[in-house]
Amino acid sequence: MSLVARYLESNGLPTVVMGSARDIVEQCGVPRFVFTDFPLGNPCGKPYDVPMQRAIVGIALDLLETARHPRTTVQTPFQWDTVGDWRTTYMQISARAGENEEST
């Protein structure tokens, strides 16, 4: 998706990537990136949380107006929960060698 953003931008169409895989997007290098530190799947806000979704879309539009240079990243102020287990349960590798748990 980041490659598509680069292509569109090269063709004169301003873009914003809204996502949660920060390293993948930033390594590819995109013009503008709105990062939300959530588990993959809800880059525009938590399900059914309309105020949060409105805020994140608003941040993306603001970034279109304010960015002056490529590779501009803005992080939204939201956190998924107060536990943070989701950070370790994605693509988790079990402690026993050779056994892996499908968690994606």
Partner: protein
């Protein structure tokens, strides 16, 4: 603020995670992610209040196998009530994608049109397959999306990978 192990980086590295995951499963040839030193930049041609905004997703259409493999366009009115996401590697034990607005915010953008923040919403949103082939993405999918954006007179694009 949550308890957090400060010996780890703050955000999850999906490049590290996927490499370790597939190495542990016996795949010793890690995926080589796209990497660029520079990035293009296009300035807004006109104010957002008069601009037409498009959404571009990695989700597919329900009961439409072609949308898994090809670039597609689908109407934004009425907003889609469900999209197919099972084929994508989002965090399926931590969240869900039953609320389309959480990854394709058509209604949120409609509200912003009504409020005058943006000029309009493209009559269609666009889907891009996620492909291991960066060449196919750049040479086939990206030009197809550009052509759809031009056909719909899109001024700016929000790309929302799951």
């Amino acid at each position: 603020m949550s308890e957090f192990d400060a010996s780890h980086r703050l955000f999850v590295s999906y490049i590290d995670k996927s490499r370790a995951y597939y190495l542990a499963r016996g795949y010793g040839n890690p995926y080589r992610w796209a990497r660029h030193e520079d990035a293009p930049f296009a300035s807004l041609a006109k104010p957002l209040s008069t601009s037409r905004v498009a959404l571009i997703s990695t989700a597919a259409l329900p009961a439409d196998e072609r949308s898994l493999r090809e670039v597609y366009a689908a109407p934004t009115a009425p907003p889609p009530v469900a999209l197919f996401t099972d084929h994508r590697s989002w965090h399926k034990t931590a969240t869900h994608t039953r609320d389309v607005e959480s990854f394709l915010p058509v209604r949120r953008l409609e509200e912003l049109v009504a409020a005058g923040r943006i000029g309009g919403l493209s009559p269609r949103f666009y889907g891009v397959p996620t492909d291991y082939s960066q060449r196919r993405t750049v040479d086939e999918y990206a030009p197809a999306v550009r052509d759809l954006c031009r056909a719909d007179a899109v001024d700016v694009a929000l790309l929302v990978p799951l």
